[in-house]
């Protein structure tokens, strides 16, 4: 079932601020086996010119995906979330995410396509800090596989 094209361009209200904790960054860096001291050692991060420890480049996805979930689970959109797989992911940074950031996400549906029975949804998440400065934009392409595949 093709998704409602009228959702293209729809922007959702900003999420409540997510506070980036240094121990959460450490936990994430350890989970991906990344030992770069910029993630865990404030002095090492400062030596690179950062005010505090920074997060690995893909860390922010946990925040933008949570925001996108509110979009893709919008009952009015009617996406079958149980069939969703992650197609593409892209980030563009103004600056790295760092400990102490309070980040909000504004999600926008950029495109909806139907291809061979699959529903393809492009969501853009704009991430800003507490001062309203842009930190990173995340583009997430989700593919809801056609139900016929199981037949």
């Amino acid at each position: 079932m093709a998704l409602d094209q009228s959702f293209v361009g729809r922007t959702y209200p900003p999420t409540a601020p997510y506070e980036v904790g240094r121990e959460k960054i450490r936990e994430f860096a350890e989970a991906v086996g990344d030992l770069n001291p910029a993630y865990t050692d404030t002095e090492a991060a400062k030596a690179l010119g950062h005010p505090d420890v920074i997060a690995p480049p893909t860390f922010v996805f946990a925040i933008t995906f949570r925001a996108a979930s509110a979009v893709i689970e919008d009952p009015q959109l009617g996406l079958d979330y149980s069939r969703v797989v992650h197609g593409d992911q892209k980030f563009a940074y103004t600056r790295p995410v760092r400990a102490g950031d309070r980040l909000t996400v504004v999600s926008t549906i950029e495109a909806i396509k139907s291809l061979a029975g699959n529903d393809i949804l492009d969501v853009r998440g704009e991430v800003h800090d507490e001062a309203g400065e842009h930190v990173v934009t995340a583009w997430t392409k989700l593919v809801a596989r056609a139900a016929a595949e199981e037949a």
Binding site: G49, T58, G87
Partner: protein, 142 residues
Amino acid sequence: MSAKIAFDEVEVGTELPAKSFPVTRATLVRYAGASGDFNPIHWNEKFAREVGLPDVIAHGMFTMAEAIQVVTDWSGDPGAVVEYGVRFTKPVVVPNDETGALIEVSGKVAAKLDDNRVRVDLTAMSAGQKVLGMSRAVVRLA
């Protein structure tokens, strides 16, 4: 931000040191907790097979996080990454044994851009298959 590699010392075609990342079920459970992505296809074999997968698969975002380390280890400053995008082409299947799977990542400088930036193209393989497509990072060098 201060990368450790100088823009002027890099040429198109420069190869970055490759890295291999072992992935076991324990790795995936740990990543699930750290990332908040608890989709059972990443830890529950029965569930994974029921939705048509060959076995438990790694989170795409886990593979993406591994691959960029080739760039950040090379540049020195992870904050020097200004763009990073991938396509998830094939899943990384993780068997329930002690060795699990291996993700092998290589990268090379594909283009020199303005403002001391370079584009690095990454290749990520597992079990002989390309698991990321169009995997590109833009990093600002010194």
